[in-house]
């Protein structure tokens, strides 16, 4: 993975010192509340319902074992012993004191971590494919490009005070696992017909109050031009993005109101001015970063192992887990292993200090000392030999991270909701728990098959409800928690926004509602091979809606 040099380290250290001074001045009454708020947000620090929340950047989701141990240390020392993995591959601590945050940041800096631009109206953490570098369907590893973009975006002097937050995601595989089409800039790394590397650029995607699928503004951008093109997009946005209304300030509204063709024209005109500037990447620039992501020393004989086949035959639980929680690896004899953070009785994405330490040890033992965070709030050991799968499974089961539900109904994406977040209208964690209990039976879940159930406690959409096969959105009606349901969303290559079923349903009925939808699907699907999403796209809303509202209380 990327290793800081003296410059990267110095910048992070200087940011800690700057933030420490900003916090000191705020506590001394020298910095107005409102300004400190905007400054601390640019360093990931929110003040939430009960306590501050610190969001730590995990660039493109990649963590080394020493970083995991440091996160465990921080959870124990400054928090209530656990953290929460987010849909943007970051990690949040929900209980630090404001006064302790500079010390937390100093601790993070010792392991090449920070909280820079994890919040605020600036360029956020660049996210990517959690199977980057190992996926069988990958063209090239997207992480070097993410790292190059990360450095460009970090403390960019011109783009730190944008109209609204700005998110970039990159992918280079036939299956988009990074939800690129719902980002402000989505980058697909491709080869053109001449075999040259480059990018297809999408802009103006986003979730939240006005969910929109991003539009393509360039078919092929040469590899050297990534930063100049991003700079052109950002400059147009910084100049023309709306600042009169926070709900219309994202770039998606500018693209929509301007029209994608006209917007693309403005970007191209700006880009023409800067494409041959210092922003053009040299081969040396690219090579320098790419070499940080070279393949680890894979064992040539990994596929010769026979113990794996024996364990599969001997242990049904292990075999069930491998069917669900492994993904194919480009190297024979290796797998990418998902550790599920969606276990019974645990808030989706939560991980405690002991688990963080244990995951670090397992990463060292079985996966070259690294793990990845997925945007579905799970962890991936990306490079596990097949002979190690059984002991890894046993170890994960021992720490509650071996629920065999990846991609199934109980693998819900879920925001912290009303339990933590001051923006939220409704509980999400408690609903996730109820759904978990109702569908805990794995045979039933396997029968239901591939399912993305995404849930947000408010329309800001941190739980990606708009792109869930089933989406659930918490709404407040006269102080009561109600839930709007959408069907048919997807953040993959076939990205689409879910359609609303109709009136929202009550807290008491939301789990029933999900059950009704699932039963409808099981009744109307053509075969077990037709997924919920495919089935919905074929039959449409009517059968689902009919059954949904026949049995539950709904309010217009």
């Amino acid at each position: 993975m990327y290793q800081y040099d003296e410059y990267d380290q110095k910048l992070v250290d200087e940011r800690v010192a700057q933030f420490r001074d900003q916090t000191r001045r705020f506590l001394a009454g020298e910095l107005p509340d409102d300004e400190y708020r905007m400054l601390r947000l640019r360093n990931g620090l929110y003040v939430q319902r009960f306590a501050p929340m610190l969001r730590i950047a995990i660039p493109y989701g990649l963590l080394a074992s020493k970083q995991l141990r440091m996160l465990g240390h921080i959870a124990r020392t400054y928090d209530k012993g656990y953290g929460h993995l987010t849909t943007r591959q970051n990690l949040q601590f929900n209980w630090p004191t404001l006064e302790s945050v500079p010390d937390i940041l100093a601790d993070l800096a010792t392991v090449q971590m920070h909280a820079i631009q994890t919040s605020g109206n600036c360029i956020r953490n660049v996210t990517s494919d959690h199977l980057a570098g190992v996926a069988a369907d990958e063209l090239v590893d997207p992480r070097p490009y993410c790292e190059i973009a990360r450095q460009w975006a970090t403390l960019h002097p011109e783009f730190n005070w944008l109209p609204r937050k700005f998110k970039i995601a990159m992918s280079s595989s036939t299956t988009d696992r990074a939800a690129t089409r719902v980002h402000d800039i989505g980058v697909h790394i491709i080869r053109n017909e001449a075999g040259e590397l480059g990018y297809t650029i999408y802009v103006g995607g986003g979730l939240g109050r006005t969910p929109i699928i991003g539009v393509k503004i360039r078919d092929f951008l040469p590899e050297a031009d990534l930063l100049s093109y991003c700079e052109a997009v950002l400059r147009v946005y910084n100049r023309l993005g709306r600042r009169d209304n926070i709900y219309k300030a994202r770039i998606k509204i500018l693209v929509k109101e301007t029209g994608p063709a006209k917007f693309a024209e403005m970007v191209e005109a700006e880009w023409a001015q800067i494409k041959d500037s210092y922003l053009k990447l040299t081969q040396a620039d690219l090579d320098r970063v790419k070499k940080h992501f070279s393949s680890p020393a894979y064992a040539a004989d990994a596929a010769n192992d026979t113990s794996y086949a024996q364990q599969l035959a001997a242990n049904g639980s292990f075999a069930a887990w491998t069917r669900r929680n492994l993904k194919a690896h480009r190297v024979p004899g290796y797998s990418a292993v998902f550790a599920s953070l969606k276990a019974k009785g645990v808030a989706p994405g939560d991980i405690d200090a002991a688990q963080l330490d244990a995951v670090a040890d397992l990463a060292d033992r079985y996966s070259f000392g690294e793990v990845r965070v997925t945007h579905t709030q799970n962890l991936v050991f990306a490079d596990v030999q097949q002979k190690d799968l059984y002991p890894l499974w046993q170890a994960l089961a021992g720490i509650g991270l071996a629920t065999p539900n990846i991609g199934l109904l109980t693998d819900v994406i879920c925001c912290p909701g009303l339990d933590f977040c001051s923006l939220s209208n409704a509980s999400s964690i408690a609903v996730a728990e109820e759904i978990f209990e109702r569908f805990e039976n794995l045979d039933d879940q396997h029968d239901i098959g591939e399912m993305k159930l995404n849930m947000s406690g408010c329309m800001n959409g941190c739980g990606h409800h708009s792109v869930g096969h089933i989406g659930i959105l918490g709404v407040d009606k006269k102080g009561e928690e109600w839930y709007q349901i959408t069907l048919g969303g997807s953040s993959s290559n076939d990205a689409s926004l879910g359609d609303r079923t109709g009136p929202s349903v009550s807290r008491a009925d939301i789990a029933n509602a999900v059950q009704n939808l699932i039963e409808t699907y099981l009744d109307v699907r053509m075969s077990e091979d037709e997924s919920f999403l495919a089935c919905y796209r074929r039959v449409g809303m009517v059968p689902f809606k009919t059954r949904l509202y026949a049995k539950v209380e709904a309010e217009a």
């Binding site: 010192a17 403390l155 960019h156 730190n160 400059r235 040299t282």
Partner: protein, 167 residues
């Protein structure tokens, strides 16, 4: 009266901002609004006075460049603390259009916590917001010693240093 930092020194402000309805004085250095400049260009030029222009942050500097390029001073506005539009205006004026006069930042963002960014985007003159400690603003110039990006301040960015180290 707010403090002026110019070329990284605390200096007396020799310019006076002239309200749109105020009569033209017979001497001194003036800053007039872009609107007044457009409306009274001939008379203002004929006065022989040294006249700078204050641009709203909504103006496309490329469009108005012919009208303002020869002015000794251009003032760009930050009407609120988080409104960063003038950062882009400043970079275009300083880098693309090579404006060599005084490029002045004014408004609610001209504080120590944005000072280094302002400097990096090409401002060479800062009308500090009331209550700002000028010494602290000048110290903030050194808050970050190794920028990732090349910008108008010509600080050597990290990627150039790395290219140099590799050579």
């Amino acid at each position: 009266m707010s403090t002026l930092i110019r070329n990284l020194r605390i200096e007396a402000d020799d310019y006076v901002s002239l309200a749109d309805d105020a009569p033209l004085p017979t001497s001194g250095k003036l800053i007039v609004s872009h609107a007044r400049w457009l409306a009274e260009r001939e008379a203002l030029l004929a006065s022989g006075l040294s006249i700078g222009i204050k641009l709203p942050n909504t103006v496309d500097v490329a469009t108005v460049l012919p009208e303002i390029a020869e002015r000794p001073l251009i003032e760009l506005d930050f009407p609120s603390f988080p409104d960063g539009r003038a950062y882009s205006q400043a970079r275009l004026l300083a880098e693309r259009f090579q404006f060599k006069g005084e490029l002045r930042a004014t408004g609610k963002a001209v504080v120590r916590d944005q000072f280094q960014f302002l400097l990096r985007c090409g401002f060479n003159s800062f009308e500090l917001r009331d209550g700002q400690d000028p010494a602290a603003c000048l110290a903030a110039v050194h808050e970050f010693s190794v920028p990732y990006q090349q910008a108008a301040d010509h600080a050597e960015p990290v990627f150039l240093r790395r290219r140099g180290n590799a050579a």
